[in-house]
């Protein structure tokens, strides 16, 4: 750069110099506020920092006013409330799981980058969420990947899906983190806007919890990990605040995509945890979106003092970078630590052991300014709070879209239904082989689920389960769920349904649900309809978390998932974490023993709005989603957890999209055992098989436990109907149809390989 350095002094002397605030994604009033805060125009470097930190992605400016409900309505009693150790606001929330252990978990999106460069976009998505977890002082122990793509047979899905899956596997496998679950959903609404969400779970002892703050004058700020390069510059603001689609023939704002280095990240994990355990760290922060701008301003504003940073000391991969670019770079695999002067040598020695580059780049100062120097000149002088926490907050206008009523009025009751056994059989086969309901092993077989040796349940199961103490058998279970079709029909209920399903999935495996993380994927907040969906879903999730006593511990918002006018379905993805005292008591979903009795728990009503059947058979989306009864969900969960603890059930599988027939097929195929099933009296066979009423699960009960189990359900008031028995080599619905397991298996398992292999 040949222009003179834009120092703080220079900025004060040249108030009229114009800066490219609009190109950096700032609005006019936002720029005016920056000038107000500083009492002068910002320097180029300051503008870079404010623009990335005030972007939608980093500042949550459109979503903040709604997200507050997660705190305001946080449950104050129940196991979840009691277990909360660290709540929203830190890199990830922390939950007490007993025996001195704490667990941290969080889901994040990497949607846009994964569309542009599927492999690297998805890979760096895993990298980013893992660093959030390490920054809490926890050892990452598992990852999950809720994914959504366009239509399964669309040519672009063939480009995006294999790349995304290879990227998640390539990064996660190389890091040595078992992948214990996720989702693969196809819907034309995600064409051009695939959703790549990534979740990481970490474990630590209570005393190891670390928060990102820079206390203690004289403490050193150490940047360690990869060198800083020119990748992803401006990515944070440009990616998250506006779409990168061509507008009016102007060249697209092509975001620079970052390339991940999982090996470097593996070293970061080991060296960070070793430094934590050696007691060498005061505060720590990962570098994610907004890179150094974010790390320095957040560390400084969460601490008590100020901070002084020498940008010349940042190790660079590309020596031609300008100071603004260094501040905005999103180079992956970097972390920032605050270390007492006496511990710096020890910290650097650990980095050296793991061959990780580490450099002191600054120190904590008294006072309350963040000052950044370049070639000896001051180029940033700000109150870090104004950068990190006092960004703009919008009350975006929102309005229920005018099409919502018509959509809800379009009830699936009008759709033709299978009329006899043969037609039900055909409908069942069509359902289990449809891309959304088909086996996902083509995807999950590309993920290591065994590494670390503590995976008790992985896919396909209702939730993934990890043992965290080999001595006592203490473990955690996590499930992620979301149903954009339900949320489109009713975003408030859709978010509650996502929580209900995830909660139920955790309980089905025998774990007590405790806490929630969420990734809210929506269209443009500048569109009042999408904003209404967001507001409704957030309200619904907050209400439901309060009712179920499962606090939201953290999460992520991804807006602007929209191409032109066409937004994705509102897609709140909910992750629920549960705890189980002894993983030996887990309940898997497979029917394993002939003769075990199959019970359907809960009530079946005719509920087909947004159902898998309506999509597969008719390409239909309309009506109302299934009713949510959270009191019932809690009762069902209590029964499932008790049954697991007391060894009353041998298998459990939640009933959700695809209904009972889908759940039966999955439990049969997993265990390689057939089932003979009878349609309960008073139920229409079609409704019994395909309805998606909530609050239900299938369980397999050994005959010796039947009395005890049925009694327990009766006493506690949970409807429980004996609907069949594990038996034979086919799924038979008596009086309707027989589906040999081999035929069922080939229908269920061949779809994804045929589409993507």
């Amino acid at each position: 750069m040949s222009a003179p350095l834009d120092t703080v002094k220079h900025a004060a002397e040249t108030p009229e110099t114009g800066l490219p605030w609009a190109e950096l994604g700032l609005k006019e009033d936002e720029y005016a506020r920056i000038r107000d805060i500083l009492g002068r125009r910002p320097t180029g470097a300051e503008l870079a920092m404010y623009s990335v930190m005030w972007s939608e992605h980093c500042s949550y400016k459109s979503s903040k006013v709604h997200l507050r409900q997660f705190g305001e309505k946080a449950p104050t009693e129940g196991p979840g409330a009691e277990a909360m150790l660290v709540g929203i606001g830190e890199q990830a929330g922390v939950v007490d799981v007993g025996q001195g252990y704490a667990v941290t978990f969080k889901v994040e999106s990497h949607n846009h980058p994964s569309y542009v460069e599927p492999y690297q976009g998805a890979a760096t998505g895993i990298g980013g969420i893992v660093r959030d977890i390490i920054a809490m002082g926890a050892r990452p122990v598992a990852v999950m990947d809720p994914l959504r793509f366009g239509a399964a047979d669309h040519p672009d899905t063939k480009r995006v899906l294999p790349g995304v899956v290879a990227g998640i596997g390539g990064y996660g496998n190389c890091l040595g983190l078992p992948n214990i679950g996720g989702e693969v959903v196809f819907d034309a609404c995600y064409q051009g806007n695939p959703l790549v969400n990534a979740l990481c779970v970490g474990v630590m002892k209570h005393e190891d919890i670390h928060l990102a703050k820079a206390a203690g004058t004289g403490n050193k700020v150490i940047l360690y990990g990869a060198r800083t390069g020119g990748d992803g510059i401006g990515g944070a603001s440009i990616l998250a605040s506006e779409t990168f689609e061509d507008t009016d023939g102007k060249p697209a704002k092509r975001p620079a995509v970052q390339v991940g280095d999982p090996f470097q990240e593996k070293l970061l994990i080991e060296c960070t945890l070793e430094a934590f355990h050696a007691g060498l760290v005061v505060g720590i922060q990962d570098l994610g979106a907004a890179g150094l701008s974010c790390a320095t301003s957040e560390l400084a504003s969460n601490g008590s003092g100020g901070m002084r940073v020498e940008l010349d000391d940042v190790p660079l991969r590309d020596s031609s970078l300008s100071p603004e670019e260094i501040l905005m770079s999103e180079s992956q695999e970097r972390m920032c630590a605050v270390v007492e002067p006496g511990n710096v040598d020890g910290f650097l020695a650990i980095c050296e052991k793991w061959e990780v580059t580490a450099t002191v780049v600054g120190e904590v100062t008294d006072g309350d300014r963040l000052e950044i120097f370049w070639h000896g000149e001051k180029i940033v002088d700000v109150d870090p709070k104004t950068v990190a926490h006092e960004g703009p907050v919008y009350e975006r206008p929102y309005a229920r879209p005018d099409w919502q009523d018509a959509l809800q009025a379009d009830d699936p009751a009008r759709l033709p239904r299978p009329a006899d056994g043969d037609a039900l059989r055909a409908a069942a086969l069509a359902l289990v082989s449809s891309p959304n309901q088909a086996a996902k092993s083509w995807v999950t077989d590309q993920y290591d689920r065994y590494v670390l040796g503590d995976t008790v349940l992985a896919q396909p199961e209702d939730s993934g389960m990890i043992r965290i103490d080999a001595g006592t058998g203490l473990g955690v279970a996590v499930s992620t769920d979301g149903n954009g079709r339900y949320a489109k029909l009713d975003p408030y209920e859709g978010a509650r349904l996502a929580l209900a399903e995830s909660y139920r999935n955790v309980a089905a495996t025998g774990a007590q649900p405790l806490a929630v993380t969420d990734c809210l994927n929506f269209g443009s907040p500048e569109d009042p309809a999408a904003m209404w969906q967001f507001a409704e879903a957030t309200r619904g999730l907050a209400d439901a978390c309060l009712e179920l006593g499962t606090p939201v511990t953290g999460g992520n918002v991804s807006l602007y998932n929209q191409t032109g006018e066409a937004a994705i379905h509102p897609t709140p993805v909910v992750g629920v974490l549960g705890v189980i005292d002894d993983v030996a008591r887990r309940t898997p979903m497979a029917f394993r023993e002939e003769g075990h009795l199959i019970y359907l728990l809960g009530e079946t009503r005719e509920e087909l709005g947004g159902s898998a059947w309506s999509q597969v058979a008719h390409g239909h989306l309309g009506g109302r989603p299934p009713r949510v009864d959270l009191e019932r969900e809690r009762l069902l969960a209590d029964i499932l957890v008790s049954a697991s603890r007391d060894g009353m059930v041998d298998a459990a599988h939640d009933v959700s999209d695809g209904g009972v027939v889908q759940a039966l097929a999955e439990s049969c195929l997993k265990g390689g055992k057939g089932a003979r099933v009878v349609v309960p009296d008073g139920l229409d066979p079609f409704v019994f098989l395909f309805s998606e009423s909530q609050g239900r699960a299938l369980v397999a009960v050994p005959r010796s436990e039947e009395l005890r189990f049925a009694d327990m359900c009766a006493v506690r008031g949970l409807p429980a109907a004996r609907v069949g028995v594990v038996d034979g080599e086919a799924l038979e619905v008596q009086g309707q149809f027989v589906l040999p397991l081999a035929e069922l298996r080939s229908a269920h398992e061949s779809t994804l390989p045929e589409l993507f292999a």
Partner: protein, 101 residues
């Protein structure tokens, strides 16, 4: 049959973990004097028929749309001469300091 080569390299500003891994290993192996290593992909295509302007244009398109992801990668199309020399073809992206395009 003629051979056309497409070299695909990460753009200079993009991190190249593969090249870095090689470079970091060099001192351990006792190799000095190599200041940078970049690792990329090489595709050797056997072309039926003459390698004329239109064939090369098609290969360029193939490279651009399929062999390389131009968001992060540059590519070069080269024709292999009978003496084994490989000559970049005008009109293809040349990574960094390369020949005139």
């Amino acid at each position: 049959m003629a051979r056309v080569v497409v070299d695909v390299m990460l753009k200079p500003e993009i991190l190249d973990p593969q090249g870095q891994a090689v470079q970091r290993a060099l001192p351990r192996l006792g190799f000095e004097g190599i200041s940078d290593v970049r690792q990329g992909k090489r595709f050797e295509l056997e072309v039926e028929g003459p390698v004329d302007g239109s064939a090369l244009a098609r290969i360029r398109e193939l490279a651009e749309t399929f062999l390389a992801n131009t968001v992060i990668e540059d590519f070069t199309v080269k024709v292999r001469e009978t003496d084994g020399t490989e000559r970049a073809v005008a009109g293809t992206d040349i990574p960094s300091e390369g020949a005139p395009a």
